[in-house]
């Protein structure tokens, strides 16, 4: 039926969430990386042409873009998790990671940054009882041990983070090209643990 622990008997008021402490690392590290690479020279003309009314200073405009990208990164991690969750629900193998073959400027994912995010995600997830249950019930044949399972899952989330950054940059650039308002950037709600 599914690989998740039954929670039907649990108190509905005692809400628990899937781990997301790693998002603080994304908020800090991805933001730092993108802000450092947002070349203000590139944004200056665009800002002057179409965004000066809303963002008086170029630095405010660049900050807003960086904030949007961070939200995109976090939501991308959620997309990665959602794909894993669907696998649990349908008792399927973990999905394949889908990397974009080409990434938009600026490219911020150094090996170091990817590793930091990977470690943060792995650290959160390896302590989660729901994932331990899913592994025991559904994935012992596919993964040698729980750590390997978490590593595979973490890879999917990191890919999600990277693709999320790209998707957000793409939406922003399409707004630039059409000289229209920046697209909305809204964080996903937290993922409630439920079955």
């Amino acid at each position: 039926m599914h690989f998740l622990p039954d929670t039907e008997e649990e108190d509905a008021a005692a809400e628990r969430y899937w781990p997301d402490g790693f998002k603080q690392v994304i908020q800090k590290e991805v933001r730092r990386a993108i802000r450092a690479k947002l070349d203000e020279r590139s944004l200056r003309r665009v800002h002057r042409q179409a965004y000066r009314d809303k963002y008086r200073e170029l630095s405010q405009f660049a900050d807003r873009i960086a904030d949007m990208v961070v939200i995109g990164a976090e939501n991308g991690a959620d997309d990665g998790f959602d794909a894993v969750y669907r696998a649990f629900l349908t008792e399927s193998p973990l999905p394949q990671a889908r990397y974009y073959a080409r990434r938009f400027w600026p490219q911020i994912f150094s090996q170091e940054l990817k590793t930091r995010i990977h470690l943060a995600v792995a650290s959160d997830y390896s302590q989660d009882d729901g994932l331990q249950h899913a592994y025991r019930v559904g994935y012992t044949k596919d993964y040698y041990n729980f750590d390997e399972f978490i590593d595979a899952m973490t890879g999917l989330l990191v890919t999600g983070v990277m693709n999320g950054v790209d998707d957000t940059l793409g939406r922003i650039y399409r707004s630039f090209l059409a000289t229209r308002a920046l697209p909305p950037a809204r964080r996903n709600p937290r993922r409630l643990k439920s079955w």
Partner: protein
């Protein structure tokens, strides 16, 4: 060598897409007539091909002027004995808001794109029909079909006309074993892209960075990408394709 001993005339071949096509066809064994309005550009390309041991001549002619076009084709036929391939690549842009568009802005774009293609096809078909073999490829733009942009009423009209020209000509010349097709490239990194960036008030690097967000394959095209499709359309591998427009823009 898919085009061994074939003779190809490429208009506007001094730079950009035209140059890439001329070089590509030559790579596959074609003898190439390199036409351009600027003799220095045409000679530059022809000389480069000769240095590689290939057969090529430069031909200055304004494609809008029938006497010059006729003379160019006569010269080419005299030099190489036949004309197998015509690439109508010459084209210009005069982007300006419609209410400010002058008669000259309209006439010049339509003249090069449409009249020029008409003149060259008219000259080429004489040889091709006699040979019972020919390949004509018109280089247009996806603008009128898919993209309609501001400031390009003249360009749009000319390119839409070129697509219609392609289809009708394919019908008329098919019986003589002459294929007529159209390539519509967009987002190609050429001198025209640089001019487009200037018009948009952007640095070229910035235009390249942002424009790729509109392209599913996430990169700008190269003149080589266009040349590869041109090669396919003038080779015998595409002998049952005629009257078609192939868009090259990294996406639908």
């Amino acid at each position: 060598m898919r085009l061994l001993d074939k003779v190809a005339l490429v208009t506007g071949a001094g730079r950009g897409i035209g140059k890439a096509i001329a070089l590509r066809l030559s790579d596959e064994g074609a003898k190439v007539i390199v036409n351009d309005l600027e003799p220095a550009y045409a000679e530059n390309v022809a000389d480069r091909l000769k240095q590689l041991g290939r057969q090529a001549i430069a031909a200055k002619a304004d494609v809008c002027e029938w006497p010059e076009v006729k003379s160019m084709f006569e010269q080419a036929a005299h030099e190489f004995g036949r004309i197998d391939i015509l690439i109508n690549n010459a084209g210009i842009r005069r982007d300006v808001a419609f209410h400010e568009m002058s008669e000259e802005d309209w006439d010049s774009v339509v003249a090069v794109q449409l009249k020029g293609s008409f003149n060259c096809a008219r000259a080429a078909q004489k040889y091709m029909v006699k040979q019972a073999y020919g390949k004509i490829v018109n280089i247009a733009s996806p603008v009128p079909v898919a993209l309609a942009k501001q400031g390009q009423v003249n360009y749009s009209a000319a390119n839409a006309g070129l697509e219609g020209f392609t289809k009708s000509l394919a019908v008329e010349l098919g019986a003589y074993n002459v294929n007529v097709n159209c390539i519509a490239p967009d987002f190609i990194d050429t001198e025209m892209t640089r001019n487009a960036a200037r018009r948009e008030g952007m640095y070229l690097d910035d235009l390249k960075r942002f424009a790729v967000a509109e392209i599913p394959l996430r990169r700008l095209g190269t003149p080589g990408d266009v040349a590869n499709v041109a090669l396919f359309l003038v080779s015998d591998e595409s002998s049952f394709i005629s009257g078609q427009t192939i868009c090259i823009r990294g996406g639908p």
